[in-house]
Symmetry: C2
Subunit: 122 residues, 2 copies
């Protein structure tokens, strides 16, 4: 069966989302593209917003997850650190393992759904 | 050890959060207080906001989770339906089981945290 409901995990440290679906996607794009601005563009997000999300992640952890990449004449390069790779990998495992653990409950909820989701949800 | 990181689950149906931490808390307060406005007050939320959240939940599922309670001269009473109780119970199980499944990963993330969370997170 197609997946109807999607389980999304946010991990909160105080009031901050230390890591969640959006920040994980951003980390992954930065790792692939080597640039915060390119990652932001890929996600249809402003550079400022992406920078603020990176800054929040960096503040949540003892070591930065993303750092400026030296070199490159244009500047603006960024790379994911070993800590960033580790946080991303742990988050992906958290997603997978929690989804596996609630398969039955999600199927029960899916059996109770309306035919279509609301158009203007709150 | 005290819990430092908190795992929050949202369950999305299309663009809607069918059930998540805030809606589950609202359902629970409505069940206890028999009124959307009393539940809203308890959560420091406007009646309008609580009503919109209830309306979204009701639209997500084939049967309403909350319905108007007849009787009561002042009107405005509400009660959680059998379907509402079931969705709330399933969500609580989803919370518990997914937390249990990612205990090790959460502990690893906690070991990587900064001393304090950021004051103005994004």
């Amino acid at each position: 069966m197609t997946q109807i409901l999607r389980l999304r995990q946010r991990i909160l440290f105080g009031k901050a989302i230390a890591i969640g679906p959006g920040k994980a996607e951003l980390l992954q794009h930065i790792a692939e593209l080597g640039s915060i601005s390119a990652a932001a563009r890929q996600m249809g997000m402003s550079y400022r917003r992406a920078w603020l999300l990176v800054d929040t992640m960096n503040q949540c952890f003892a070591a930065p997850l993303v750092e400026a990449a030296p070199g490159g004449s244009g500047g603006g390069g960024a790379r994911i650190t070993a800590e960033g790779e580790k946080v991303l990998a742990l988050y992906r495992r958290i997603e997978e393992q929690s989804r596996a653990a609630v398969h039955q409950e999600m199927a029960e909820l899916e059996g109770m759904l309306a035919e279509t989701p609301p158009a203007n949800p709150h």
